[in-house]
Amino acid sequence: MIEAFEILFTASFWVAAIRIASPLIFATMGELICERAGVLNLGIEGIMVVGAFAGWLTVYMGGDLWFGVAVAALAGAAFGLLHATLTVPLGLSQHVVGIGITLLATSLTYFTYRIVLPEVTSPPRIEPFQPLPVPLLSDIPVVGPALFNQTPLTYLAFATVAVVAWVLYRTPLGLAVRAAGENPSAVEAQGISVNAVRMGAVMVGSALMAIGGAFLTMSAFNSFFFEMINGRGWICIALVVFGSWRPGKALLGAILFAAFDAYQVRLQQLTGGVVPYQLFLMMPFVLSILALVVMSRRAAYPKALMIPYQKGER
């Protein structure tokens, strides 16, 4: 019992928690941007698969790590463009299109994997991002290794939250994005195209989701394998609701969630196989549903979420 409590004070636990949080932070910010502009992006799961593969493949083919991240982001944005074209100007069901994008992105990735690597039994590896300790700060006990001895991509994840929050709340662009999700006709009244804002938001958001996927193959692990996203995208959708569509709160939610995930892995080792391991693996998904239910009463959905906009219509 004491041991279960002591885990919380070990540096390795918090290092793992922040590492697990990083891809979730990218993807949650991506989904948050889309939803703030009024578009639910259920392509997230498939776009993360694409990002994971595209980034990894670029490096495997001899590209630079940061070039790999850029390629992943571009691939994500491309699927974002497809999603946005179908849902924004054409106004198709965001549910059906999102699921379709996830199915398409996932199957295209697997198809391409088989074309590029027809005869491999074990997935080939790349040299992933290495931890980059921040001088002095990384020497602080527990907090130091957790926050200041991570890979550059983790630092980028935290920076992304700051940038997204700043753009959303402190710039005219952010105002336009938020208004597109709350009161689209007000945006149009300013002479700004609602559909352009929404399409841009979906593309940028999808690029972030793809970087989240790339984190897994280029920082957390060093190879690509099937089923590696394993529902992380869906969890991020729950995290956006949990964070009430606010970047800071969503960040907190992602870290809390990741800490829980890191904790259950350690608890699993502690219980020594008495409790079926599947129960532990279920916890993230159960927790996501619980979070949705608990937050539902206070959930302030963007008012125009999932409502296509037609100029001059009320």
């Binding site: 259920l42 497809l82 549910h95 299109v97 699921i99 996932t106 295209l108 198809f111 279920m282």
Partner: protein, 349 residues
């Protein structure tokens, strides 16, 4: 650009659009075949041959279509009422689990009693599983897409736990698989020596039954009314939440029948790979059928043909069989565009 509503299309036009979607899908996937270094003509020739080129191939396609008819119906029923059930995969496994729990010797009953009983209990299990997200939707406003998706993962882990625990076959050489169901619980083969089983007939009957419910009953009318405009339906005195509950129960039950029929008709036992995504493919089937229950049968056979044909093709032509998944996903997206084009005219200005 603007979208303008246009008058309801004639039946002929309506049927032309899915055809158009399929043609676009084939053209787009030809590009992938070219990228794989093969000739689209020979590859698609092999796909067609593998799906329908011989009596054996055709029977194999119908066998594969059986679970897709059930999951396609489940999605069609739910989507018609705008209940976004993406959890057919989990409901399928709920039906399969119940079939194995009660069908491996727990109930000493003759086949004529046992099989209908297993079907009913499976449907109840699947129906109850979807009631959860439906209640969360109506009571708390929680999006059912996310909850049903998350439940798929929970259910698969739950099945894995059962197969390594209480349901594990002691004679299974350590594999995570259940015992086989008793002979009285097995659905008979339709043709001796072939894999096609009575589940296919049940699926077709289910499609007809769902068609009757949707077109000829008050419930069907209410479901369509709720799907078209929940506010207006409520104003007209339709108990919207009650209708959504009934829809959820029916939809979950239909998906569970897929699990029942795969265990009782085809596999005989439960494993973790019972369904290679039949629940998700059901969404494509339902959309290709434009949510028409009878169309679901045709769409399921078509989609099953792609999968069976692509499997056969990849063995000889060397193009990865994932081309089938790509084609099915592309068909889903082209189909939603096609459906929109039957209702709206796009004006560029």
């Amino acid at each position: 650009m603007r979208l303008e509503a246009k008058p309801a299309p004639t039946l002929a036009v309506t049927l032309l659009f899915p055809l158009g979607a399929v043609v676009v899908t084939v053209v787009l996937s030809s590009l992938l075949v070219l990228a794989a270094g093969a000739s689209p003509f020979s590859v698609f020739g092999l796909v067609v041959k593998g799906a329908a080129g011989s009596p054996f191939a055709l029977v194999e396609t119908l066998t594969r279509a059986t679970p897709l008819i059930f999951t396609g119906l489940a999605v069609a029923v739910a989507f018609r009422a705008k209940l976004w059930n993406i959890g057919a995969e989990a409901q399928l496994y709920a039906g399969a689990v119940i079939t194995v729990v009660l069908g491996t010797g727990a109930l000493p009953l003759p086949a004529l009693v046992l099989i209908p009983l297993l079907m009913i209990v499976s449907m109840v299990a699947g129906g109850l599983l979807l009631l959860g997200p439906a209640i969360l939707k109506t009571r708390f406003g929680v999006d059912e897409v996310v909850t049903t998706l998350l439940l798929n993962f929970i259910m698969l882990l739950f099945v894995s736990m059962l197969l390594e625990g209480v349901l594990k076959d002691p004679m299974g050489l350590g594999w995570p698989q259940s015992q086989r169901v008793v002979a009285e619980a097995r659905l008979p083969r339709l043709v001796q020596g072939w894999r096609l089983h009575a589940g296919f007939l049940i699926a077709v009957l289910a499609a007809v039954a769902v068609w009757v419910v949707m077109k000829k009953t008050t419930l069907g009318y209410e479901m369509r009314a709720v799907g078209q405009n929940a506010e207006a339906a409520r104003f007209a005195g339709i108990p919207v939440n009650g209708v959504l509950m009934k829809t959820a129960f029916l939809s979950g039950g239909l998906a569970a029948l897929a699990g029942f029929s795969e265990v009782a008709g085809l596999k005989g036992n439960l494993t973790l790979d019972l369904s290679p995504g039949f629940g998700y493919t059901g969404i494509v089937v339902a959309m290709l059928a434009m949510l028409n229950p009878l169309g679901v049968v045709l769409a399921a056979i078509f989609v099953a043909g792609i999968f069976v044909g692509a499997d056969a093709m990849s063995r000889t032509a060397g193009v990865p069989s994932y081309i089938a998944e790509v084609m099915v996903a592309t068909a889903l997206l082209t189909m939603v565009v096609a459906i929109m084009l039957t209702r709206f005219r796009v004006r560029w200005r």
